[in-house]
Symmetry: C2
Subunit: 245 residues, 2 copies
DNA sequence: AGGACTGTTCGGTCCGGGCCGAACGGTGCC
DNA sequence: GGCACCGTTCGGCCCGGACCGAACAGTCCT
């Protein structure tokens, strides 16, 4: 009946897990990776402002701790969050503001989350159901190939040029891959990232086929956009009943 | 458009928060406090196996970090989690097992959570809807007073003696307070703790008016218990439709 | 008043770990 | 093959912080 003398055995694992977050550099890595992209080690190091050697050690810890998944491609080491569960935990910690202050109206919060699930930007491209729908449509129409990592087909390059007035941005001038898959936390599916994904997002925003909601990452297709995308890709991005205010 | 050179400003606060969890002793404190009781500093120190001076410093950090709330009473320093939001975060971290392995059947998990919300032991007394219902009933019938901190009325002492065969366990022989409020995370309301809460839980279990479900903290009233508690306190603890397997 | 007990402060020790630079190995490109 | 680039390993530095014991302050009980 008195206090159990055995210190809770779960304490050590908890502390070990928390220690992975308890460093500014690692926290910066995790927050950066929250966008769902796979970053290279060098990108992470630059983002956090540390030497590559330092970043390498941090990444080792995060991978060993199960928070990050890695994929080596040639001389690059791509890192991404280990899964949606991990992203959730990062967001929980990052979003913790302390309990005493009035909680931000649960209704508003869940509405905001739903908006993000429908459509949002992920770094510089489109994600959420909108991003996945566009990617699926491009694959279906032979504009995009889904081997290991996405690849734009010749038809795809032509489509970008003719339908979206894209010039030489996709001719490989930059070092950045033209098409790369990006895993979506809400959809748990891949969508188009890379230079192609970025230029797609850029053009859709420029033509006001997609517009930002408020100041955050959430976006939604406009009526014009719904029409145009149905024409161009045969896809319905209206989001179903009740999706647009 | 390239990587933003500014390291995410949220990284430092995140790391600072995580650092509070990133120590075995502090983690043990937080896990112990997860039961919703307010512990004294000495209890926490003994539980975690550290010197009081060490515990004092840890508690300072946790309070300053907003994870713990404190209340000084005489020579005691009572500590409890700062709120339900905090408890949620502790549980999220403690329950993180890594995403790659198959999630433990969400159905089972939510069923277990529901069982805990209905009724459970909280250290040595009853919590959940069951604990709150019993406490409310005792207050309504004048057995318990709710000033600052609970107090057992003379009627309450008599009720314990006559209805539950409680002898001198409540006559202040021990140093422990007879009645103390304990905040419930699922209900966000107070229920009876202290020696009175402990003896109540003890008797109800002994008479098999309440029984444990499996090996954890979850409990449920038995059919006998539902009958007896309706008679003794005029309270319905059947838990509504579908509450009992 | 005295004694028992709870918690705090302070000094001192010690270990872990975050950081860098230098050297090295692997990969891809010309 | 040569060269640029990406990442890793290793040694070394240094700071933060976890811990204890001793001394002290405050509270409660007798």
């Amino acid at each position: 009946m008195p206090a159990p003398a055995a210190p809770d055995a779960a304490a050590v694992p908890l502390a070990r897990l928390a220690a992975l977050f308890a460093d500014g550099t690692r926290a910066a890595f995790l927050l950066a990776l929250l966008d769902g992209r796979a970053w290279t080690l060098g990108e992470l190091a630059r983002q956090a402002g540390v030497a590559p050697s330092t970043a390498s050690e941090h990444v080792d810890l995060l991978v060993a701790g199960g928070l990050l998944a890695q994929e080596r491609q040639g001389r690059h080491r791509y890192l991404r969050l280990a899964g949606a569960h991990t992203a959730q935990l990062v967001e929980d910690l990052a979003g913790y503001g302390g309990p005493p202050v009035a909680r931000p109206a649960t209704l508003r919060a869940s509405a905001a989350a739903a908006a993000l699930a429908r459509g949002r930007t992920c770094y510089d491209h489109l994600a959420g159901r909108l991003g996945v729908a566009l990617t699926d449509a491009m694959i279906e129409r032979g504009l995009l190939q889904r081997d290991t990592g996405f690849a734009l087909t010749p038809d795809g390059v032509r489509w970008f040029a003719e339908s979206l007035d894209v010039g030489d941005e996709l001719s490989g001038g930059s070092r950045r891959p033209v098409a790369r898959p990006c895993l979506d936390w809400t959809e748990r599916r891949h969508h188009l990232a890379g230079a192609g994904g970025a230029v797609l997002c850029d053009r859709l925003l420029a033509r006001r086929w997609v517009e930002r909601i408020g100041t955050g990452r959430a976006v939604r297709p406009t009526p014009d956009g719904v029409r145009a995308l149905r024409e161009l890709l045969g896809v319905d991005v209206s989001g179903g009943p009740g999706a647009v205010a």
